[in-house]
Amino acid sequence: YFSVASFNSLLALRQQELVDLPKDYLLSTSDDEGDSDGERKHQKLLEAISSLDGKNRRKLAERSEPSLKVSEFNISSEGTREKLVLSDLLQPTKTSSSLATVKKQLSRVKSKKTVELPLNKEEVARIHREVAFSKTSQVLSKWDPIVLKNRKAEQLVFPLEKEQAAFAPIEHVLSGWKARTPLEQEIFDVLHKNKQPVTDPLLTPVEKASLKAMSLEEAKMRRAELQRARALQSYYEAKARREKKIKSKKYHKVVKKGKAKKAVKDFETLQKVDPSAALEELEKIEKARMMERMSLKHQNSGKWAKSKAIMAKYDLEARQAIQEQLAKNKELTQKLQAASESEEEEGDVEENGLLVPDVVHKVHMNANELNPWMQRSCTSDAKEAEIQKDPEQLPEPVAHQDSESEGEESPVEEEETLLKEFEERRSLRKRPELNQDAEPAGHQEAQDASSQEVLSELRALSWKLNQENHQSRKQKGNSTRAVLPVQREEPAQEEEEPLLLQRPERVQTLEELEELGKEGCLQNTELPRPVLQGQETERNPDDQPGAPKKRKRKEQMIDLQKLLTTKSPSVKSLAAPTTMEMEDEEERDQKQMIKEAFAGDDVIRDFLKEKREAVEASKPKDVDLTLPGWGEWGGVGLQPSAKKRRRFLIKAPEGPPRKDKNLPNVIINEKRNIHAAAHQVHVLPYPFTHHHQFERTIQTPIGSTWNTQRAFQKLTTPKVVTKPGHIIKPIKAEDVGYRSSSRSDLSMVQRNPKQLSVRHRKQLKEPCR
């Protein structure tokens, strides 16, 4: 509502103004009163506008100077829409030369800025320090690899020896040596007569050259070359990748066609220019064909071919495409005529000439020396060579063998191969159909297919054989499973009785416990084993998944009674002790029975009691903080309430399970041996984060008792060895193969800071400005 009202007032004002305006306009320059009137209106308008905005409605009225008026006391640029510049003030009506100098001075004053305060000493020093530090650390960083190497070194021998400069051949060392004894002289005479090398018999020039290091320039050049080649390669690769990414089929088609055309053209020109090169080219093409023949592409195994094969049923084009593909395949896989074959064979022979003698020679050597290690490796080499040569002549059988051996290896693979074969068969079946459809079905093709089918049949047979083997194995497994229950049968029986061992607190009195134990014992002894076996096997012959669980439980609960009361077979000793009186057997039996019956129970009961006590003692104790009488009545015979007790009882955390939890006949002391612990490591050394890691490094004993002499020596080599009587000088750059010494670098930096890099200089300067 308010805004509407203000808006109305604004409108009214506006109208008034519009009415007034011409009048104003006329009067404005001369009439003071009219002017002041206009001013007021303007003020009002401003007020109205500002009241539109709800926030600061009430603004203090502001006094302002009248505009568009020229007065001699004040300067106002109002209405001119230009800023007043200082020079405008100086502008006289006509230019005078005397003012020019003033102007110039003015401009100079204007252009000069105030000089910033120079940085204080500390800051300058700090910047210098920073720069010096970065520079120094850069210089020193070249030592990093050496330091690292020395730290990692198994052993350092001081004084550090220089890298072996060069290998001095023995002849050079012995150059001063002369033949003295008659025998030596004689030998040398013979050597001289036959013009055999005497001084330098060992190294050929080539070896010598190789001993000498490559010169630096050469190395650099070579490196540059290599770099260039690598860069070029990467460019090329990048380009190829880019092009490969292009998805346009048309583009690729065009490219392919272009390439083919170009190749044909090139070939033609080559034929004209250089027939021999053309021949080579032809050979290459031939090679490509051979590759094709070997790898058997252009068949129906590709992604494209498969999709087409699926579509072929419905789509004529696809069918044609497949036809083409097959035709191409045939063309490529067709064996060439006799001439080329003989050529190939020749090649083979030559190849053999190249390769075989070596191998044969080796084997021969072996046969001479009977070195088992060499022999093995050699024969394997030979085999490899054979395999390498083979694929040209008979690639198919090898592959077949491979697949077979694979099949033997694992059933999974077998399955895979089977699937593959099925697919092959299907495709084979399909192919003839296609051929019939498209008529150009070649006789050879059919033959091929049939032979392939035979092959696959063979494979299937071999697979079946394997399968049978497998099954027989399975049956064996079954039989073993049938045997297993013998071991399994106990747990079912024992499941009830060992409860007493598991929860000793439930059994209140010793008598009860004993009875329980006896019951278990009776049960055990009463049920004869073989019957049980039969039952068990009958009940669940194929209940194997449950079996391991049961056995596990059995492992847990070993019955103490049973442990001690098992009837162990008695020995029929050949030489019975003579002192044993020949009592009546019955009497003796009775005696023994009585003994066993009475002595044993005591022992077991006592032991169980002891064990229970030990377990109780080792349990962490709960802390009871209840104060009787607080918050309730106290006194004799009054127990604090259960709620309260529960509230103030601090339960001790449950410790790890006892080691003898499942061992009824054992009490293992859980106490830590603190005396031994004092000898153990209790701080992890630096790079290790977990104690298992560190433990692994100290598992191997290093003493001479457990190691051979050499191993002991190696394990206990000192990290640092100093040669007595030698001065250990600080390491120098020359020692490790650097050109200039780092020392000089450092000192240079400190002496003249002009050596600083541009960046550092900038860094220095910037704050000064």
Partner: protein, 615 residues
């Protein structure tokens, strides 16, 4: 493709490049080179085939090297560690003399042989470690591998093979008597079987020294003697004029501890009494722990006392609280003392702990004899219930086999190679295992022997196939083929050492004395970190600092390139990790809950709703 390329080109009339290079590189013939380098290494002929048709075969075979070498040649994959430094490259190197190494490279070591010496358990998976740590671990593993290979290779030096006794088809070896064996073996071995007829001074206890060279025995009626039993040279013979209960050599044959009626006495090899230890009174059994220099004594008063013989102080006296102690043995693997008690238990003791380390209930009656094999794997016990049992000492303490003997065994002894001898009355039975490392099978005795008196002491002689039996009628030294370790460590137990060597060894052994408090069930515990203290220190540190300095900081996603490091994706990645952690936490807590529920689940019948009305 490579094949194609290397194939010579048919059109070209230029000789192939390769040939040219070869001809160029052909090295000049040297004057020292002959036409053919004939191999000089004489190869070892394969070892003679074993003939085991003989009726009784007992011999220590000295087949130098052949056995193990053959094995190494047979080995399928010669695993040669690649990293070792000293290995020469397998390419035959040209030496100055021009001769070629006919067997280049290091000798391959069979994997299983080296595996025996492996100590690091690689089945335990470690957490992911930093690269620095990883490097250290790798170094440690490489070292272990190398040392194990070296050890396996040096097994070649162990040329001796254990003896054995084989009967004809269906013949029981137990029927072979000592006389037959003595007839079959060589004179030196036959001389090791003897009987000492000492009827006057009652049943004898005996003790062999650690080298197996010396024998000390003490009769109940005070007769004490020590002799070099191989040469039968008597060292001393005295009568202590007091009943002798046990006798034992200390670390060397020069010292002899005798448990007499009242106190423990120590004599030297001249029979001069050196010490009378009155703090150890009424001792019944003695055991000496050679690596700790401790003499463990079990007394009638029920105390187990450890005496450090190197300084002459009693380390600890432990009260077993089980009455009279007269069954004691030591576990040679971890120096734990086993005591047999009248309540059918066997307790395991260490001087560092006041209570027994473990207590095993073995028999329904009292325990009569205990013994532990040299690898610390098996313990054999016999009790008043006439049973002989073999226990597994590797953590489970469960019986592996049991046998009821007509008149329980009063004395038991394990040999170095795991044969078990039991003395029952005047008969000694010996059982053998299937192979090394397997418990002796109690089905059929391997050997039996009848003595002229009741057995009172049994011990196998180290490094000799001999069992010493002390009985009423004296001492009998039996031949037991295959009982002892055929190869001795010359630096440790040298039967042929001189006096000087013995003194040297004594000093060395004293320097390497193991502190008594290190005796515990697992002797490899020293190679473990004290986790309890470690955790405690860590907790305290966190408390002191107020924060965990090793805690993992919050996840900070790595900056990535190509616009994948936008704020949104960063946040997304952060969130992903956070969610995953949260899920893990929830899963863990759920599992915990489930676990607790399973624990607290009532095992009995479910409480019915009507139970509340039960008054």
């Amino acid at each position: 493709v490579g094949l194609m390329e290397t194939a010579p080109k048919p059109g070209g009339d230029v000789p192939p490049k390769k040939n040219r290079v070869q001809s160029k590189r052909k090295k000049p013939r040297r004057y020292w080179e002959e036409e053919e380098t004939s191999p000089t290494a004489a190869r070892a002929s394969p070892g003679p085939s074993r003939s085991k048709k003989r009726k009784q075969e007992l011999r220590r075979r000295r087949t130098k090297n052949t056995h193990i070498q053959k094995k190494s040649r047979i080995s399928k994959k010669p695993q040669v560690p690649k990293k070792s430094r000293e290995r020469r490259n397998p390419v035959p190197q040209r030496t100055l003399s021009g001769a070629q190494d006919p067997f280049p490279g290091p000798v391959p070591v069979p994997v299983e042989a080296a595996l025996k010496f492996r100590r690091i358990d690689k089945s335990k998976k470690l957490l992911h470690s930093k690269s620095k740590t990883q490097k250290r671990l790798e170094v440690a593993e490489a070292e272990e591998e190398e040392t194990s290979v070296r050890a396996a290779r040096s097994e070649l030096v162990l040329a001796e093979e254990p003896g054995f006794l084989e009967g004809d088809d269906g013949e029981d070896t137990a029927k072979i008597c000592q006389a037959d064996i003595v007839e079959a073996v060589d004179i030196a071995s036959a001389a090791k079987h003897f009987d000492l007829n000492l009827r006057q001074f009652g049943p004898y206890r005996l003790s062999y020294s650690r080298t197996g060279r010396h024998l000390a025995f003490g009769g109940r009626r005070g007769h004490v003697a020590a002799l070099d039993w191989v040469t039968k040279k008597l060292m001393c013979e005295i009568n202590v004029m007091e009943s002798v209960r046990d006798i034992r050599f200390l670390h060397s044959e020069a010292l002899l501890a005798v448990a007499q009626n009242r106190w423990l006495h120590i004599y030297d090899n001249q029979g001069i009494e050196l010490h009378c230890i009155r703090r150890c009174d009424r001792i019944t059994r003695l055991e000496f722990l050679p690596f700790h220099f401790l003499l463990a004594t079990a007394s009638e008063t029920g105390f187990l006392t450890y005496l450090d013989v190197s300084v002459g102080k009693i380390v600890t006296a432990l009260n077993a609280r089980a009455g009279r102690l007269d069954v004691m043995t030591q576990n040679p693997y971890n120096a734990v003392i086993h005591l047999g008690h009248s309540n059918g238990t066997v307790s395991l003791w260490s001087p560092a702990v006041k209570e027994p380390l473990a207590k095993i209930l073995c028999h329904r009656g009292g325990v009569r004899a205990v013994t532990v094999d040299s690898t610390g794997t098996y313990m054999a016990t016999s009790g008043l219930d006439h049973q002989l049992k073999i226990f597994d000492l590797r953590g489970t303490f469960q019986p592996l086999g049991a046998r009821t003997l007509p008149q329980g065994a009063g004395h038991l002894a394990f040999s170095q190679r795991g044969l078990l001898a039991a003395g029952m009355g005047d008969v000694v039975n010996i059982w053998a295992g299937q192979g090394k490392g397997s418990p002796p099978s109690l089905e059929q005795p391997y050997l039996t022997h009848r003595l002229s008196g009741h057995v009172h002491g049994l011990q196998f002689c180290p490094f000799e196939d001999v069992l010493g039996v002390g009985h009423n009628g004296g001492i009998t030294s039996m031949l037991v083929p295959g009982a002892a370790e055929p190869n001795f460590d010359g630096l440790e137990n040298n039967p042929y050492r001189s006096r000087k060597q013995r003194q040297e060894w004594e000093v060395k052994a004293l320097l390497e004395k193991v502190p008594a408090e290190l005796i515990c069930l697992d002797p490899r515990a020293l190679a473990e970190v004290d986790v309890v203290t470690l955790e405690q220190a860590k907790k305290e540190r966190i408390e002191r600092l107020g924060y965990d300095p090793e805690a993992k900081g919050p996840f900070q996603p790595k900056p990535k390139q190509k616009g994948r490091s936008s704020t949104a994706s960063l946040v997304k990645r952060k969130k992903k990790v956070m969610d995953k952690e949260h899920r893990d936490k929830v899963r863990q807590s759920l599992e915990q809950q489930q676990h607790d529920q399973e624990k607290t689940k009532p095992t009995g019948t479910r409480p019915s709703a009507l139970d509340r009305f039960v008054r």
